[in-house]
Symmetry: C2
Subunit: 310 residues, 2 copies
Amino acid sequence: MTASIGIDIGGTKLLAVRLQGQEMVAKELFSTPGEDMVGSVVAAVRELWTDDVTSVGVGVAGLVRFNDGVFVWGPHVPGSNVAVREIVEGEFGVPVIVDNDANAAAWAELCNGAAQGHRDVLLVTLGTGIGGAVISGGEVYRGLSFAGEWGHMMYQANGLQCDCGKRGCWETVASGPALARLGREFIALNPEGQLARLLRKGDFTGETITRAADAGDETARGLVSQVGAALGQGLCSLIAIFDPEMIVVGGGLGSIGESLLGPARRVAADALHGGAHRPLPPIVVASLGPEAGAIGAGLLAQHHIAAEAL
Amino acid sequence: MTASIGIDIGGTKLLAVRLQGQEMVAKELFSTPGEDMVGSVVAAVRELWTDDVTSVGVGVAGLVRFNDGVFVWGPHVPGSNVAVREIVEGEFGVPVIVDNDANAAAWAELCNGAAQGHRDVLLVTLGTGIGGAVISGGEVYRGLSFAGEWGHMMYQANGLQCDCGKRGCWETVASGPALARLGREFIALNPEGQLARLLRKGDFTGETITRAADAGDETARGLVSQVGAALGQGLCSLIAIFDPEMIVVGGGLGSIGESLLGPARRVAADALHGGAHRPLPPIVVASLGPEAGAIGAGLLAQHHIAAEAL
């Protein structure tokens, strides 16, 4: 059975796993990679290394050139034009693949998770922003390299400021920070309400509002629905664009499940192009949780090395 | 050399061509197909039939199930769930393919037109609305069936009313009717201006405003630029989503060329996600004009019949 190491690098955390075939046999979480991103990758691979490892996969939050394994740029990860594949291959002498983190997570969901048995699937990850990946005909679709960055599709011309510098991107209304903003706005208008009492001053994150919703706070549930509606409208655009078999929603915010996906499905069903003549595709929660990216990076490495051996 | 017949059905016109290999050797334009859409197709095929024809391709403006050749629904074409393939095959005894009209046009541009030599291309057709097609790895990408309907991606939440029943679809701001609306609005505010004199009362179509722009009217040129900017913003979303090699812009409005595409490119370059780290893909005018759909339908029929023979 093939052993591989999978790495998932986000803005603040690096998760490393070792796989035996499809099974995760070891994992380790490291804090922020610091300025030397590729140095952190090398250190993490060394930490999990065993002599039966035959490939390494690295998923990075940002624009990655899969063909030559270069991390081009990402708003939350330091460095640009980093030759990750070349450096890690030089260090360990095994084949390395480098991909966008959402592509890696989608591959894991396809092999082992919510998308098993499907061939044309979109993964939408909701967290600080919106990430995405396209599975087409059972393979990751990358276009030239960077496909799936629909967090930055225009959703509201001249709308809210996005971290990317533009205005009105979809992720400005459907993400953790969008939920936090709704909370702040509501509490500014209702400073004596229950939600204000529940959330200590300044503690407006997507997570605290989600927790208040889970605890049954009506207002918080309403705010989650509002983000769900914006999610559903954007999913509807993606359905018009791709006509996928299924959409898998992952990421930290995505994991809250039905209180978000219920409103998203209702809005999407209502706004579906040609909706009287076609069903809404299933919109489901990702099943592999925060390990999807690292597992998927390891599985993608196995997949491509097997393909090259043919 | 293989002979095929290609048909392109829009809301008001049906164009039929006969191809010898890739070359168009006959064509005929029919007016509106009326209520009996498939009857019009049969009549047009009969008109162009010669005994060496070995396949027929039909492109329809709307949602088409390629797998079984059923026209499901379209806002501008009569009928729904029409078994076009079955009926036309029964009539002529040769294999028939049925596809979305933009898919057919994209295939023609790939084989013989602006996208020759490329493999990952988007076609965006601008007319009454926005149509679209995805070429991925040198083949038409359909998802389950209906991919490419990005005219109905959300562009301005709670924006202008779209023909599809939703609000704020991209085609409400980047299409012939969008240009006509800008003209009407401008002239309502400036009833004594030059543009008002140029356009006779009520004569506000995308085409008349385009002609005024071509004739050098500054205001009309400004309105075309405004539509170009909305086009560019939406293209920018598509680039973030697909990362294509190239975008080909076709359709009646698309054919006006640089006065529209210049502003579109400038806006897209400015708003490109990760724009400091990647080039803007070429955004070019389609080269086959209004015959692209019919030619592409015929070429797609040849392509699929050759593929089945393997």
